[in-house]
Amino acid sequence: MTFRSCPHESEIKALLERGHWPNASTAELRTNAASCRVCSDLVLVTQAFRGARAASVNAANLNTPGVLWWRAQLRRRNEAIARMSKPILGAQVFALSITLLTAVGLVISQAKHGLHWLSWFGDAQQPGGFRLDSLWPSAGLTSILPNWNLGLLIPALAMLALLGGVVLYLASEKQ
C-alpha cells in the first residue's frame, strides 16, 4: 500500500473537526472529496467515528465521582502502609540475623573450649548458684578483646544490632 496525501486533506479535516462539513465548504472541496480517494476516506471515516462517539457517550453507565475518590484514598492509604511495613520488616530481619550470628558465635566459642551447660544447670538449681561467669570460657571473647569485659561486650553487640536495624530502616524508607 503506497502512502498518498492530498493538498486539500488538511482543509477538509479542519472543517470536519469544527462540524462545518459539508455545509460551510466550497464546491471545489466537495468535488475533490467526491473524486479523491484520500479525502473521501477521510470524510467517511471521520463522520462514522464522530457519529459513533456521539451515540456512545450517551450509553455510558457511570459511577459517581465520590466513590472513585474514596477508592483512590483507600488505595493510597494501603500503599502507604505497605511502603512503611517494608523497611520495618527489613530492619527486623537484619536485627534477627545479627542476634543469631552472635548466638552462633557464642555457641561455637563455648563448644571449642568444652561444654559446661550441664554443670551450669546443676549450679543454677542450688540457691545462689546462678553465675553467668560459669557459662563463659576463660579464653572466650574476652581473650580476643582483653580490655572489654562481658558486661560491656553484650550491651555493645545489642546496641550494634539495634542501630544496624534503625540505619537499614532509614535507608529503605528513603528509597
Binding site: A48, S56, N58, A59, A60, N63, P65, L68, Q73, I81
Partner: protein, 208 residues
Amino acid sequence: MPWELILPSELNSLAGEAQPAIQLPMDNDAFAGFYERSARSLWAYLARVSGDAALADDLVQESYVRFLCATGSPSVAEGEVASRRYLFRIATNLLRDHWRRPKSSSIDDIPEEFFACADGSGQSDSLAMLGPALALMRPRDRQILWLAYAEGYSHREIAEVTGLATASIRLLLFRARRKIAHLLRNPVQSAPKGAANEMNHLNAGRQP
C-alpha cells in the same frame, strides 16, 4: 531526635487521631468536574475499542483510581488536556493488559443482551455501520482510529497515549483508515455475523 522527623509523613498522618486526607493530584471538587467532562468519552473509547460494555465500565473506574493514585499524574495547574491524555494512556495500558490475559470462551459468560436486536435510532445507525467494520480491525488500529477520528487527537498525542513512535503513527493511521473505509463501503461482503452481534450487544441495554 523526635520520632516525627524519623518516621515518614504517611505514618504520621495515620498515627494521629485527626487524620489528614492522603494527598491526591486533584481535590474532590476538581476531580468531580474533571470526571464529569471526561468519563463519557473515556467510556466510549474503551467500549468501542474493546467491544465490551461491561469491560469498559470496569476499566473506566480502574483508570480513574489509578489516575488519582499515580505519582506522575498531571496536576490541575498543568491543564485538563494533559490530564485527559494521561487518563487515556492509563486506559490504553489497562486495555492492553486485558488483551494479554487468557480469555474465557464459555457461552454462559455471554450476557443475554448480546443477542438483542439494535434499535433504529439515527445515532445507532453510525454504530451499526461502524461496529462490524471496527470489529474486523486489529486492536491497535481500533485504538489509533478512535483517538484520531473520534477524539480528534494529533499524531503526537496518539503517540503519547499508545506508546508508539510519532513517526509511525502517520503510516499506521493511513493504512488503518484505508482499510476501515473499505469495510464501511462494503459492509455486507466483509462483516461477519459475530461482529454485528458484538455491536448490538453494546447498544442493547445501554439506551438511557
